[in-house]
Amino acid sequence: MSSLGGAPWYILEFGDELVYFTPYTTTLLILALVFTVLALVSRPERQVEALFGTDAIYAKDTTVDQMRFRRFMAIACGCASMGAVVTGDLFNFTLFVALVGITNVGIVAAVKNRHVQNAAFQYGLVALTATVPLFAGAGIVAATTGTLSIVALASGTVPQAPFFARALLCLGVVGEGMAPFYAAKAEMFRAPGAPYVIMCSLSSLLIFLRVAEVVMVI
């Protein structure tokens, strides 16, 4: 095991997939857990808005059924990012990342706001496109090294993953998380329901942090 994230404290075995807890992955896991719990326990805030051209100020309410659905999506998103940060298998990682992309759209899908919906649609398209480089990256790693386990890839017993595959993985995660180009994501953040929209950004930062470790290790 390469020492990038520290030596693993504990390894959980899921058949052929190892889930390992290094100081790094554990930190990320705890952070995802904390924010998932926050999304679970906190009620949505009421956004105060001023109407242009009048002196009216009103607070937006989030209806109960909307709140339930968005909370469900936020928790699913939290679970997906928890899976993505601890998993020790490349294919499993890509699956979790794809799940993060879908749940991110789900979190704002319930918002009745044209602006937010347009942004979410664009984001959804990018997330859809990004699955191609993502799974292609994992596929190329499997073809050129013969294994998908990050532990085996890090140990150096198999050939190093080619640069191209790593670039594809990065590109896929960038697309799923919309990592550096946040224009659409920023628009999504105008939606009310702070505990839930925060998960959008949290999950993409977490998968971004994780993929940084993965591409440096494999």
Partner: protein, 280 residues
């Protein structure tokens, strides 16, 4: 740990006060006293405190705890000589703290601060490249290994100046009044911290103090290597004064321009990595 924590809080507050003082003096103002931020934090701690009616109470309070917690954790990692990837993670998670602060209250000012904080997520990317460049030279990401490497081979500041520059830019973007501090621009009142008052604000100030100490200290550890305590204090003050000079003489950039400049720096740094031969 406890004593280091108190030192980090007090030191960080004093550094932030010095930051304001230097900026004021560069701009030919008298400026507040250096211990102003300490007074500030004390004052906020003893103010009447409640939760706004429109706020999401769990998030409103919880995010303050998270803010202090993550930077305490970062301090622990620095003291333990752990992996800089973890500190990198904490640094990026500070973004989420900003979102949480801004969005949880329902106030429009806070919301715009948070939206800007989402936009400026690109500011973290140079850190990646900096980390990767360090890994190329030292072959490890543990802080203790990097310090040991520098004790033998001389400071990384001379070996890999572009990496130091990228890290400097990252620290700069988190300093108050910097050209990249778009999340707390004065046109948004105080940006994401607008609605957190009283004890909540005091908590945020504590987190900011630890953050400043950790980031500046980390820079010295990563790029200058082992220093005696006295030299460490002198170096940290010099580093801070240089940052204050930059903050004092540059205007704040427009939000998207700030992002573009940081993205361009990342591209340049990627070119540097190609030169180093990391990317074939």
């Amino acid at each position: 740990m406890i004593e280091a924590l108190f030192a980090a809080v007090l030191g960080g507050l004093l550094l932030l006060g010095l930051h304001r003082k230097v900026i004021a003096r560069v701009q030919q103002r008298p400026g507040p006293p250096v211990w102003q931020e300490v007074l500030h934090t004390l004052k906020f701690s003893f103010k009447s405190t409640w939760v706004p009616e429109t706020a999401s109470p769990g998030l409103f309070v919880g995010i303050v705890l998270v803010a202090i917690g993550i930077w305490t954790a970062a301090l622990a990692v620095v003291l333990a000589g752990g992996s800089i990837l973890i500190i990198f993670g904490v640094y990026m998670l500070h973004k989420i703290v900003e979102h949480g602060f801004g969005l949880s209250s329902g106030s429009p000012y806070g919301k715009f601060g948070a939206v800007r904080s989402v936009i400026s997520a690109a500011s973290e990317i140079p850190l990646f490249v900096s980390v990767a460049a360090i890994a190329v030279f030292t072959g490890s990401l543990a802080i203790s290994d990097i310090v040991a490497y520098q004790a033998v081979n001389g400071p990384l500041l001379i070996i890999a100046p572009p990496a130091a520059f990228a890290m400097y830019l990252v620290i700069l973007s988190k300093m108050p009044f910097s050209p990249f501090a778009i999340v707390e621009g004065k046109e948004l009142v105080s940006g994401y911290k607008t609605e957190h008052f009283g004890v909540w604000r005091a908590g945020l100030e504590v987190a900011n103090a630890i953050k400043t100490s950790v980031l500046l200290g980390l820079f010295l550890l990563l790029f200058l290597g082992p220093l005696s305590p006295f030299a460490f204090v002198v170096a940290i003050v010099i580093l801070l004064v240089s940052l204050s000079f930059v903050c004092a003489v540059t205007p704040m950039l427009a939000p998207f321009d700030s992002v573009t400049i940081q993205a361009l720096v990342t591209v340049v740094m990627l070119g540097y990595l190609v030169l180093l031969g990391v990317i074939p």
